[in-house]
């Protein structure tokens, strides 16, 4: 265990509680994502770790046994990549990357050598002497990462590292960033509101909502065993099926579903991939729109529940728009979960209090990831060794 955060909370002047008391442990080389909608406290938590915000009294931030809580941002040795990248426009790429080393007052040849190493790792050789303004968004992102990594920080913190890029570039850089972080072998925390980004990059994901961690675990654990309706909605886009629950049955507008277990006071959700068009299905629905997605079609269905549902339909053709179909959902595919806190659900205020008062327990997924070098690919192993030498 390298980074331990205990009892981190933040109340802004004026009394707004941005973050309720939060604990988090992060193992060496682990990459953790803080995932949540805007205003859920994830950026505040990251900035507290960086030393850019002061937590409420009682917080502890410990790295490898050293208590960092009282240290300022200048001495804390956390690398940070900002959402806007915050590159210094008056310095070249090389000047930006070397800035942290210059502040450490290293000798010039040493700075040059280490800047060259990071430039090579981030494949920025072609841009090393360019002005920041002459770089594209993706190149800036890499420079920001290189600048944060050059002083060999204890932990790398990334605040929405891809959100400043346009959609086409974001998908491509997501994979690139994931591989680069693994090559570095660095312990990292990153903040995002994009579930795909969290899934693609992180070892563990902490889903946050209204200043609390709702659940933390591997992507698979969050998807397959979400703890609350909020988590299910946020990870894997589960759709709520609000209806009358009576004797193990869920009565919806379009028909009745059999529940696999009792669901009193809880909510029932389903994912688009678990809804099937089935002539013998129990639900009636009408097809509002059909979108071709390549391997399958996405159907927009009305009449089955209050809100339109989406279903994924594979096959070479889809039902006609406007036609009436019947749907089936396997009972084991229904997610029966405590009503999670969410801004989308105005009726949840009473349940919200119940959930809020339940002490958060984590890690729910107790798997401690093995050392990065052992677990990663041969390619990563090579880079990891190289990085180890680089860090020596």
């Amino acid at each position: 265990m390298t980074l331990m955060l205990a009892n981190i909370a933040k109340t802004f002047p004026g009394g707004v509680r941005a973050l309720h008391s939060t604990d988090l442990e992060i193992a060496r080389g682990e990459i953790v994502a803080l995932l949540g909608p805007s205003g859920c406290g994830k950026s505040t938590l990251l900035r507290i770790v960086a030393g850019l915000e002061t937590p409420d009294p009682g917080a502890r931030i410990v790295f490898d046994g050293e208590d960092l809580t009282r240290q300022s941002a200048e001495t804390r040795k956390m690398g940070m990549v900002f959402q806007s990248y915050a590159l210094f426009p008056n310095m070249s790429v090389r000047g930006n990357i070397g800035y942290g080393l210059k502040m450490q007052k290293l000798p010039k040849p040493e700075i040059a050598r280490r800047v060259d190493e990071v430039i090579a790792l981030c494949r920025l050789e072609a841009y090393a002497d360019r002005a920041i303004t002459a770089l594209s968004g993706g190149q800036r992102q890499r420079v920001a990462l290189a600048r944060a990594m050059a002083p060999r920080p204890r932990v790398l913190l990334l605040d929405e590292p891809l959100s400043a890029l346009d959609a086409a570039l974001r998908g491509q850089l997501r994979t690139e960033l994931a591989l680069l972080l693994r090559d570095f072998g660095i312990t990292a925390i990153f903040v995002t509101h994009d579930q795909d980004e969290a899934m693609a990059i992180a070892d563990r994901v902490a889903v946050m909502s209204e200043g609390r961690v709702a659940q933390i675990g591997t992507p698979e654990a969050l998807y397959r065993k979400p703890a609350t309706g909020f988590v299910a909605r946020f990870v894997g886009n589960a759709m709520p099926l609000p209806g009358r629950i009576e004797g193990g049955r869920l009565h919806l507008r379009g028909g009745t579903l059999i529940l696999p277990k009792g669901a009193g006071g809880q909510e029932v959700l389903v994912r688009a991939e678990d809804i099937r068009v089935d002539p013998d299905g129990p639900l009636a629905a009408r097809i509002d729109a059909v979108t071709f997605l390549g391997t399958h079609y996405r159907l927009t269905l009305s009449g089955a529940a209050e809100e339109p549902l989406h279903a994924l339909h594979s096959g070479l053709s889809a039902p006609e728009t406007g036609s009436e179909v019947r749907l089936s959902i396997a009972p084991e595919a229904l997610l029966i979960l405590p009503k999670g806190e969410t801004a989308l659900c105005p009726a949840s205020s009473s349940s919200r209090i119940r959930i809020s008062s339940r002490p958060a327990r984590w890690p729910m997924d107790a798997r401690t990831p093995p050392g990065r070098c052992a677990a990663r690919s041969i390619r990563s192993t090579r880079s990891c060794r190289c990085w180890a030498r680089f860090n020596a």
Partner: protein
Amino acid sequence: TFCLLPLAIFTLAFLAIPLGRLILASSESGDGWGIYLRILQTPRYLSTLLQTVLVSLAVTGTALAISTIAGLFLVRNRFAGRNVLLSILTLPLAFPGVVVGFMIILLGGRQGLVNQLLPGHWVFAYSITGLFLGYLYFSIPRVLLTVMASAEKIDPALEEAARTLGAPPHRIVLDVLLPALAPALIAAGAIAFATAMGAFGTAFTLATDIDVLPMVIYTEFTLSANIAMASALSVMLGLVTWALLLIAR
């Protein structure tokens, strides 16, 4: 497009004709165009020109330094009465040069406040010091407002990035804040310089033993009726200011 063209031409003519007339007038003495050579050979004109440029540069530099410090302080700190203070800071903008000269006399003249409080040799109003203070008083609010507008636009993440990279406060000022303010400082400095070069009201009110170029032009024109020399000196003043403005841009 529209019917902008004739109006634009009219505007350009309005700006160009007086200028052309001025340049022509400078050649209408016995010396012809040689009058410019004569300016360069007359120590009195040259030293006046130099003194005007030096005072203007000093005012510009001092105004930039003071405004940057005060501007950064005002942008970074929210306190009660801040908005009232900001409104008061714009008050000097409303006073013309004559009034500013007049204020300097009230402060540093023979019967001025300073001389009353500290009797002795504290009469600075009629010297180059008075002129300097008057111009400074005139310039600071303008530069301050520009610096504040620019400082508010600096991405706070830039400063935070420097902090996480281990930069102490003075390095943040040097490496982040000043470079980010530079365009605003240059623009405000150019305006302050041009204003100081041409400030007549302040100089005229204070005037006893100060020679600045606008004063000399006025003297040549009104008292000596030497229109050609006044024109030539005007063109010189315009060219020097314009050249420095262009360099700043």
